[in-house]
């Protein structure tokens, strides 16, 4: 049973560029959440997609945008990259949103983004 797949695993971008990260949810899951994990910090919630719409958003600027496709996969786009955007970006999938019980909340291994 495939878990959450993220691509690429690593990438390096130049300040001011744009980047797209991709996430394929676990089989059977329909909801994708994105988190940013800066070095030495815990993950911070960026946004969540369900039924191809952004359902909730954390405290991130509009430079961060996303999309969910009919097959439930998702993309995270970051425009006008800043040095401070360097982080590990984690995708998590679940069924029907974040259930309170959350046994079904599965994380991917992340994309390490370095902005130079």
């Amino acid at each position: 049973d495939a878990g959450v797949t993220q691509s690429p695993t690593h990438l390096i971008k130049t300040r001011g560029q744009q980047v797209t990260l991709r996430c394929s949810p676990k089989s059977g899951h329909d909801t994708v959440s994105w988190y940013q994990q800066a070095l030495g910090q815990g993950p911070q919630f960026i946004f969540q997609y369900y039924e191809e719409e952004e359902r909730q958003r954390g405290n991130f600027p509009d430079r961060f945008s996303g999309h969910q496709f009919p097959n439930y996969s998702s993309e995270l786009n970051v425009n006008a990259l800043l040095l401070g955007d360097s982080a590990l970006y984690l995708c998590a999938s679940s069924l029907g949103g974040l259930s309170r019980e959350s046994y079904g909340y599965t994380f991917g291994s992340g994309t390490r983004l370095t902005v130079v």
Binding site: G42, P43, L90, R100, S102, F107, S109
Partner: protein, 116 residues
Amino acid sequence: AQTVTQSQPEMSVQEAETVTLSCTYDTSESDYYLFWYKQPPSRQMILVIRQEAYKQQNATENRFSVNFQKAAKSFSLKISDSQLGDAAMYFCALPSPSNTGNQFYFGTGTSLTVIP
């Protein structure tokens, strides 16, 4: 507001010994869940254990157990018979209130080293 605090950036333990990782939190809810996640070098967040706040009994999963003190808003993780594979970052996490969103709030993590 939901907050999670982990005051131990780093901990170490001898193989086969016991270690306790600390976590305090704040929430206005009376019924909620708390989680410990493990993040090994592979970067994938793995659920270790969860606790339901309305349950008096502390959760246990094999060598992992919690000491949940609701009044003190404390939620520590005890790892018994530590193994080399337990070396990882450990994050305490609290979901958002059920009527306000779909995200986890994470602490800053504790890096656990297991000494052979």
